[in-house]
Amino acid sequence: MKKKIAVRIVVASTAVAALALSGCSGGDDSGEGASLTYWATNMSPTIEQDEEVLKEHLAGFTEETGIEVEYEVVPWGDYYNKILTAVSSGEGPDVLNIGNTWSVTLQETGSFMPFDDDALEAIGGGDRFVETALESAGKPDETPTFVPLYSNVYSLFYKPSMFAAAGLTEPPKTYQEFLEYGKQLTIDTDGDGAIDQWGTSVPGASVQVGSHWAFILGQQEGADWFTEDGEPQVDSDGMVTAVHTYVNQVNSIAAPSDAEITEGAGAIQDFIDGTSAMIITQSPMAQFAQFDFTDWEVAEVPVMEGGENIQSMVAGINIGVFSETDQREDSLELVKYLTSDEEQVGLNSQFSTLPVVTAAYDDPALEEADPTIPVREVILSEHSKPFPLFSATGQAETLLGTAVVTLIGQAAVSGSVSDADVSAALADVQSQLEAAG
């Protein structure tokens, strides 16, 4: 009897031990012949398209250098969370993309390898990069921990056919014109009493896009999110005007149902489907091509009358190396490869983004692949500003974006928001930012 119990105990303990150990992962591969882990951001309308593009280009990298790359395309929704998990646990990729507005906040975590002079040399030198793009890569006067990979800006896309039907010949130059044209283009086309064509489409439930416009229109009004010392000041009059103007689009020239669109791609789809006549967005060209949509033209973003000519923030993707990596050299090789002139032309034309290295713009293949380049290059180099370069930017982005989304929701449900509503929302954000500081 005792023997039976003994046997059972041994079996039970072994089973438990086996179960416990099976939970332990093998840990990160390290050592000779190991592959690099690369986290990429979602650039195309679908993850699958991203994977195809990366497969092609990374195969070229493996051929050239013999280094294998295991890549993962991460959707935007939880990417920041994922990065912070890697930061707090020390277990992460070797190389990763980030949204460039996160640069300074992530720089402060100390988890990413600084690109000092040696590292910059290793990837081909820092002066190859477009100045505004490089500026957005980190705190001024500090060694950056990321370098630019893809750039992007907002620009205006409009339908010449709908413009012609409304008797308009030129795209709007000022924001006031944008609203006026929008009203003219918001009509009932099939006579059933319901408006089915709108001036514009906006992803009203996207926190990121909301924050972008809180920034861009704020800049046009001369309102910075932070003072020079990094103190938040998001409830200034300029910010109230900026946010109110953006939110008002929803009841005047965009469909109220836009308040439920969570991704830019959703608003772009409405533009393609004929629900709207204009859209201000970053790079819809891949989606246009996917649906064989050709009735579009690109133009500069309309700017508030009397305001500064800032049409976009320097959007884009930066790339960096995780400080806990065992493969520093190989990681730098990958960064060098992806920022090389050739790859920049190839990758950016496939993602409809803008190259971050000046030499790439001289390549005629680029403009062939993407006819919007001349307009957008001008916006990038002359009419864009980097997102605020402070550590609280990440939080400010989330809080302001959420406030914009909530106000848009309010406008959609009740028909409008007042200056007082916007003021109150921004005052709330201000006190949250002050409390968190």
Binding site: I9, V87, G394, T402, T406, A435
Partner: protein, 326 residues
């Protein structure tokens, strides 16, 4: 422990006679029991208790995304996070109190509706009805379905432009003229309640059905012979006899609903609209949307204390004590 004098041989072997000193064998008596539950205790410590204590520790620090890399060295701020959470004039505190009140209302409504539906179906399906077996299985579907799948279907249905609800109400039936928003604005609370009741009521139904099975049938025969109406039978027979199950059911479901997170998260995303912001999503927002982990942990700890106290109070009030008549 009663001594069995005519014990079969193997029992006698594992229960040494009293006059012998018990051998300090590894397998003797309670030692074996402790050994066997040790893995479960260790797992419970590692997965539940230790993380909870860590979370409690985080509540006293200023842990944000900036210092999360060296989170063990995050600055100690004492009760600041708790004070921010409890201060009714501050932005965070006032949000917290509103959310707490709203969550209480949510729990009362959903729990009440789930219980009512559950007891009604349990009573109905306890009698010999045609299709009883089928209905029993059918009613369990919302509970058995993965929460995400069910809830996302509701999100699609309540979409303002393309959802089924608006299509039926506005286009087909013409009950409303304008297409209302369901997932933003005031109606979002209603949608949250509907989705929650749909998902949770089968649990109540199941527990109450099981409780009904334990009621002996002849009690009802006697009652109807005495001329008791159905309602009277319900009130005076069924309710008292399923009281123990009811007590446990209400407590378990109440706590679960108070901590409800997955339904609002799937319906509304990472930021719930204000009219539907329950307390768990609010805590999530503090920690994972605003990256203020210290504050999120502090509010979590406060919630734990409140629920714990409420549960103790409830148990003391309604649980039958050991010496009471059953």
């Amino acid at each position: 422990m009663t001594r069995i004098t005519d014990a079969p041989p193997d029992v006698a072997a594992s229960h040494p006679p009293l006059h012998e000193k018990p051998r300090p064998s590894l397998l003797a008596g309670n030692r074996l029991a402790y050994l066997l539950i040790a893995p479960a205790v260790i797992a419970e410590l590692l997965i539940h208790i230790v993380p909870m204590l860590l979370g409690l520790w985080v509540a006293f620090t200023h842990l944000t995304q900036i210092n999360i890399r060296n989170w063990t060295r995050a600055p100690f701020v004492g009760l600041d996070n708790f004070i921010a959470g409890l201060d009714p004039d501050g932005p965070i505190g006032s949000q917290l109190y509103t959310s707490f009140f709203r969550t209480t209302v949510y729990v009362i409504i959903v729990l009440g509706a789930c219980w009512a539906l559950g007891i009604a179906s349990a009573v109905f399906l306890s009698s010999k009805v045609k299709g009883r077996a089928f209905l029993r299985t059918f009613f369990l579907i919302p509970w058995a379905m993965p929460a995400f799948v069910g809830t996302i279907a509701w999100a699609f249905m309540f979409n303002q432009r393309d959802g089924m609800v608006n299509k039926i109400l506005v286009d087909d039936l013409g009950v409303l003229d304008e297409r209302p928003f369901w997932l933003i604005g005031e109606n979002s609370f209603f949608v949250l309640i509907v989705a929650s009741i749909w998902q949770m009521w089968p649990f109540a139904f199941l527990m109450l059905l099981a409780a009904m099975q334990s009621i002996p049938g002849d009690v009802f025969e006697a009652a109807s012979l005495d001329g008791a109406s159905l309602w009277r039978q319900f009130r005076s027979l069924i309710l008292p006899m399923i009281r123990p199950t009811n007590i446990v059911l209400l407590l378990v479901m109440g706590l679960f609903l108070f901590n409800q997170f997955s339904i609002p998260y799937v319906l509304f995303g990472r930021n719930s609209p204000e009219p539907a912001r329950l307390i768990s999503p609010l805590i999530y927002e503090h920690s994972f949307v605003n990256w203020n982990f210290g504050l999120g942990s502090a509010v979590s700890a406060l919630l734990l204390v409140v629920l714990f106290v409420a549960s103790l109070f409830y148990i003391h009030l309604v649980m039958p004590r050991k010496n009471d008549d059953d």
